[in-house]
């Protein structure tokens, strides 16, 4: 058994969806995946029953802001892409940066970007995203 610490993680991203690259300065990421359910309970049943339906995902990436850090600007500014075709690719790693290993991979849209500057603290940025299309989980 091997537990993993958060600092082992990483985020890779490409706005054009062609070649993911590591974003320098990510502090945390989260991904929440939700499956909708359809109620298949029939008259006469005693217990309610369901089948799984559509799967969707959303999450957050938090960064320590550095205008010179590789990959940050393209990531933060993707929020202002109008008529976003969800062509951006994300890969969120629990450890390492080997493609399709210990990661969640998907196309997505950055829906919120919040940059915060506070006296005595580092400037941090928080970006929320939603997934679009298939979510591939390589968490085994």
């Amino acid at each position: 058994m091997a537990t993993i610490r958060g600092e082992q993680g990483a985020v890779q991203f490409d706005a054009a969806g062609s070649s993911n690259a590591t974003i320098v300065g990510t502090r945390s990421w989260s991904l929440s995946t939700t499956k909708e359910t359809l109620d298949t309970t029939k008259q006469g049943d005693t217990f309610r029953s369901f089948v799984g339906s559509m799967v969707s995902g959303s999450g957050t990436v938090e960064l320590v802001y550095d205008p010179d850090a590789t990959g940050q600007a393209a990531f933060l500014e993707d929020v202002i892409t109008s008529a976003d075709t969800a062509d951006a690719t994300f890969e969120l790693f629990t450890t390492g940066t080997s493609a399709d290993t210990d990661s969640a991979k998907f196309n997505g849209i950055i829906t919120d970007m919040e940059i915060t500057s506070t006296v005595g603290e580092l400037v941090v940025v928080s970006c929320n995203f939603i997934t679009s299309g298939t979510i591939t989980l390589n968490l085994q």
């Binding site: 958060g6 600092e7 082992q8 993680g9 990483a10 985020v11 590591t22 320098v24 300065g25 990510t26 502090r27 945390s28 990421w29 960064l63 320590v64 550095d66 590789t70 005595g120 580092l122």
Partner: protein, 141 residues
């Protein structure tokens, strides 16, 4: 990007003080692990730079990652005993202004504390105050 050079950070801090106190009026300054024999009834300054707790700042292990290096500068100002704090505070202001909220060579100095008078000076025979400044530097690997 490279591991932090602690001596470069130390040199930034100490060099700033040495340059300031070499100006008029010049005040002797002594740093960590240096022999020094003070002249009785005269002023001198002792500067001690210490590195403390560091912390993860970003993800990425040993590449594409950042750490926060935190440290403390304790600057003791010694002046003649029995003549009030005025001369001591003049030096204290010079030192405080040197670091207060300054960013230099990637070292971020916080708001300075002091000069704070100490009840008993070490070494004895002087009036001693302290200016303390915490600082941080971001290590980019």
């Amino acid at each position: 990007m490279a591991a932090a050079d602690l001596n470069a950070i130390r040199a930034t801090i100490e060099g700033r003080l040495a340059t300031e106190l070499a100006g008029s009026p010049a005040i002797p300054v002594v740093f960590h692990n240096m022999a020094f024999e003070p002249t009785p009834n005269s002023s001198f300054v002792q500067c001690l730079v210490s590195f403390g707790a560091n912390e993860y700042l970003s993800q990425g292990l040993t590449t594409n990652s950042q750490n926060r290096i935190i440290g403390l500068v304790v600057i003791s100002i010694f002046s003649a005993k029995g003549v009030g704090p005025g001369a001591n505070f003049v030096i204290g202001k010079r030192i405080r202004d040197l670091y207060n909220r300054v960013i230099v060579s990637g070292v971020f100095f916080d708001a300075a504390t002091g000069p704070e008078a100490l009840l008993s000076a070490a070494p004895e025979g002087y009036f001693q105050t302290q200016v303390r400044v915490t600082f941080e530097s971001i290590e980019e690997l």
